[in-house]
Amino acid sequence: MNENQPNFESLRRLLALKRHETPPPGYFNNFSSQVMARIRAGETEMADGWSGRLFASMPWLRSALQAVETRPVFAGGFATALCALLLFGAVIAQRPDSASTAFLQPAATPDATSFASATPAAQTAPVLPANQFMVADNSTNAMFSSFQPVAAASFGQIPVGAQFVNYSGSGN
């Protein structure tokens, strides 16, 4: 596979035509001044903007960004670390026995009926049956439903159950 094979000679001559394609006259006279003007404008913008103040207060941030921009290895490493972090978070969140799930749940969720029978007040005061007392059990409002026993436990010494009152007339 010799690239200098004579059968490419004609092609090489044709490709020489490309070297005769030139930009408009005087084009390169202004090229560098345009580049330098854009660099100066960029520096001014950087110094004035919020990013400029940010980089001034944290010079390592600029170095880190430049490293990510110029070295694909850093960019790849950063992306891998980010993916690993996301995966780790997803795995932790889906574990049923994870600490975060346990933390969010109430410490104890006593059954309403057992609570009613266990409290001393329940023995003296008539209490509505469970299906009447726990109105929210039939509700779709999960938050209210789950917090009801906690509220009941807070008033453990005070019977909060409704009492039947007889308002029958006394001869009026």
Partner: protein, 207 residues
Amino acid sequence: MIMAEPVARNDSEPSAPADENVLVRRAREGDLEAYDELVQRYQERIYATVYHMTSNHEDANDLAQESFIKAFQALKSFKGGSSFYTWLYRIAVNKTINFLKQRKNRIHMSLNDLDFNAEHDPDLVALISDKTPRRDADLTELQEKLNAALLKLSEPHRLVVVLHDVQGLSHDEIAKVMNCNIGTVRSRLFYARQQLQAWLSDYLKPT
């Protein structure tokens, strides 16, 4: 003016004089005058490379300017492992290839005019002589067909042809710019030439 005349060079002996390192060091410290000098030194080569890759003057102008700006911003990360111009070439080439990938389906040629010397180039005169199968082809038509054929090549193949056959870089230099080995450069060059030869057979003098 012939753009980016091929010059036999190698990376250990760049065309730049010895003070290039001084200019780079000064530019890294924020000396804009030093960087201006570096821009003037390489502007034609960088522009030519981008232009031959895009076949579009306006795109080449933007990309060449942006390459110099990006190089200035990244100058602190330049460790001197390669010569400055190899590093600069790499920035320009990466920027151009990214640009070409984005505009994949929006190819629009905006070709520069041929200079006066083209009509007197013996190689080109020979191409449009009566031995050429397409005798009616003039230089402008040849230019359009050649650019269209180059644009049909994949970016890596086009880049090798542009850097070697048009810009005159050595295989070693191209390998450094493209971050691949010399064998890959040679095989890409061979394949690209074969393709071009097939597409441009009507305009090539039989050998």
